[in-house]
């Protein structure tokens, strides 16, 4: 995409660099370097940066406000002093001042759950012209892809001597990944070289042949991290969790090399399981280093209901009960289980838990709640959506979650009644065959869980939860004020911003990278084909300055790339933090 021959110029803190074409050539005119008396390392850095920014994938889009802003900045100091490149040392999270005044992350409970859900969730309709353009754009890309496939040989491995065998590549999937995804491939799977906390260091890479291969330029970019699932900010290389994990690694080693049933069981894991059970308010919990059991392994029949739509769920439940199992001649099903997620990671919406529990009780079904994203991020005590809706966690039959997101570790857990967990301990594959969790990782979970619960003696956990709730509300309201379309519930820390067009996903991710913000874009097939989106994941480790910086940049980019699709009325008052 970055073939802005002459269009793109890079504004690098005051010096204007003219961009000569898109093949990584250094600019020939020496107008860039103003002061002739720069010393060696600085000149080298400037040269490297020029090389980085003159390659096609990183050409910055010339925002119209850039020049105006540069002129204004020269006269008066900026409002926010934050820039990811400035080397300020933030050890751990810095909390906002007025902690006591903000309300906790909890469902209000004044209106009925249905009304409250409708009030707080927004899924705005796509504007018609954008929908048409998206479809036409995809048709165009498909046609170009077919022409490309006809005329040129792709740079992929080809099969030889495979007559009679199943083809190695699926037809549509390989076509899509070679001719559509490949064009913007530099926006995904980007290598990093620092701990992904509130800021992160990206290794820069450029592509000379439009996405077939990548080369490292040798430079790194320090960016604000809006892409990691670091909800409570426990992803840090320093701090209490890291120290205790290191100590545990020194004392107990790195792995037990055995499964739970044989020699891999130890006191630490028992402590972890009982702590998890206490954390969720259920009878017992089991955890594994990897939970591979899936719905397919169980062999159950799967029926889908519309996203968060209670009437559709009721319809599916009624049909299941009325018609029974068609394969067995209409006999009733043994069990009907409703499987939902706490926070849907692509939509940013929250499950309607009170209504689902009411339905479950009415039709005597079971409920499986996957809280991969929501544990730690929702609720006034960080216990997940059951805490958020003030619902007794014993009413959910199976609670499942991961430790990778809010706790900053690895592994997962299942929580429920003692009978269920005992059954799982005897019958699950992972308990018998998979290795147990490594000691430093388990220690990280233990420390972070105790911090959240407040049992370690400080109120860091409580502050983090409040900080996350505050950040979420502030960010979502400011985005709505800017005029971009975001999906999801008001209180969910996953904020998808809709850009619809495929090329816009690429343009936004690349431009944000040059402005030192790292985000994740999502398109087909992870999302519906019409709805390409940029997903921001907020964290308790983000400060107000960082969010303000991000919002300023998003504002500029929204103006320039045409992302402000929203037709709702915009709040004119300044939003308080």
């Amino acid at each position: 995409m970055g073939n802005f021959d002459g269009v793109g110029t890079v504004l690098k803190r005051g010096s204007d660099i003219e961009n000569n074409g898109a093949n990584g050539k250094l600019p020939t005119n020496g107008a860039a370097i103003e002061k002739p008396s720069l010393d060696e390392p600085e000149q080298k850095e400037i040269l490297l940066n020029q090389q980085k920014f003159s390659a096609p994938a990183y050409t910055e889009i010339r925002t119209r406000r850039c020049t105006v802003k540069a002129a204004a900045e020269a006269k008066s100091p900026t409002s926010t002093n934050y820039h990811p490149d400035k080397k300020t040392i933030f050890n751990g999270a810095i909390f906002g001042k007025h902690q006591e005044e903000c309300k906790p992350n909890q469902a209000e409970g004044k209106l009925s759950p249905e009304l409250e859900h409708h009030q707080k969730t927004s899924f705005e309709e796509v504007p018609l012209h954008t929908a048409c353009l998206t479809y036409l754009g995809f048709y165009l890309l498909m046609i170009l892809g077919y022409i490309n496939q006809l005329l040129f040989v792709p740079k992929v491995a080809t099969e030889k001597n495979r007559e009679g065998y199943v083809a190695l590549y699926d037809a549509f999937e390989s076509f899509y990944s070679r001719y559509v995804y490949r064009r913007v491939k530099d926006c995904w799977n980007r290598p990093i070289c620092s701990v992904p906390g509130d800021e992160l260091t990206l290794k820069d890479r450029v592509t000379d042949d439009y996405g077939w291969s990548f080369k490292f330029t040798g430079t790194e970019t320090r960016c604000l991290n809006l892409g990691s699932y670091n909800y409570l900010g426990f992803a840090a290389a320093a701090g209490r969790c890291a120290d205790e994990s290191e100590e545990r690694a020194r004392n107990d080693g790195l792995a037990y090399c055995s499964s739970r049933c044989e020699l891999g069981d130890n006191e630490q894991l028992h402590e972890l399981e009982s702590l998890t059970a206490r954390y969720f308010g259920v009878e017992d919990a089991i955890n594994h280093a990897s939970i591979i059991l899936g719905l397919r392994l169980s062999g159950a029949t799967i029926k889908v209901f519309k996203h968060n739509n209670m009437r559709d769920l009721e319809r599916v439940l009624r049909e299941g009960i009325c018609y029974g199992n068609p394969k067995k001649g209409g006999t009733p099903w043994n069990k009907i289980m409703v499987v939902v997620e706490g926070i849907f990671s692509m939509e940013g919406s929250i499950v309607r838990l009170p209504e689902i529990i009411a339905l479950k009780k009415k039709y005597k079904a079971y409920l499986y709640l996957d809280e991969a994203h929501s544990v730690g991020a929702m609720g006034s005590h960080g216990r997940g959506v059951t805490d958020y809706f003030n619902v007794n966690p014993k009413e959910v039959d199976i609670l499942m979650g991961t430790f990778t997101k809010s706790f900053g570790s690895a592994g997962g857990y299942l929580a429920g009644s003692k009978k269920l967990i005992d059954f799982l301990r005897t019958n699950s594959h992972a308990h018998c065959y998979a290795g147990s969790i490594s000691p430093p990782i388990a220690q990280q979970i233990l420390t972070s869980m105790k911090t959240i619960m407040g049992e370690d003696g400080s109120d860091t956990g409580r502050k983090k939860i409040l900080q996350l709730a505050r950040n979420t509300r502030y960010f979502r309201r400011r985005l709505a004020q800017l005029g971009v379309i975001t999906y999801g519930h008001e209180d969910s820390p996953v904020v998808p911003m809709l850009v619809y067009l495929f090329s816009k996903i690429g343009a936004v991710v690349r431009t944000l990278t040059t402005r030192h913000i790292a985000v994740v874009g999502a398109g087909f097939p992870a999302t519906p084909i019409m709805e390409g989106r940029i997903r921001f994941c907020l964290s308790a480790a983000h400060t107000k300055e960082q969010l303000d910086y991000a919002l300023e940049v998003i504002d500029e980019i929204g103006d320039d790339l045409g992302l402000k699709y929203s037709r709702k009325p915009r709040d004119a008052n300044p939003i308080e933090y």
Binding site: N3, F4, L501, S503
Partner: protein, 100 residues
């Protein structure tokens, strides 16, 4: 005065380039390789020019009336000689047309 003009000219050029960039982004040509861009632009340009030519060649009357609607100051005949116009169109001072 001259530097201001050149500055405005620069702004105008940048504006046009920005519009071209938006067009590229919205039709998803932006992420294509140069030869694909040339191909698509030539295709679109030929379609547009074909439509325009067909409009001007086959329905000149309507073209004229639209033209007069947009630029009322360039109306040809303001006197009564307009009644003898072969196409049957009549233009008066305000630029509206009356078909006779």
């Amino acid at each position: 005065m001259f530097p201001m003009l050149s500055e405005n000219y620069e702004k105008f050029k940048r504006y046009v380039k920005w519009l071209y960039f938006l067009y590229e982004l919205n039709t998803q040509i932006a992420i294509c390789e140069p030869w694909e861009k040339v191909f698509c632009n030539v295709l679109l340009g030929s379609c547009v020019s074909l439509i325009l030519y067909a409009t001007f060649a086959y329905i000149p009357g309507y073209c004229l009336s639209v033209f007069h609607l947009l630029w009322p100051l360039t109306v040809q005949n303001l006197t009564s000689t307009c009644l003898t116009n072969s196409d049957g169109l009549c233009g008066n001072e305000s630029g509206t047309t009356v078909l006779t």
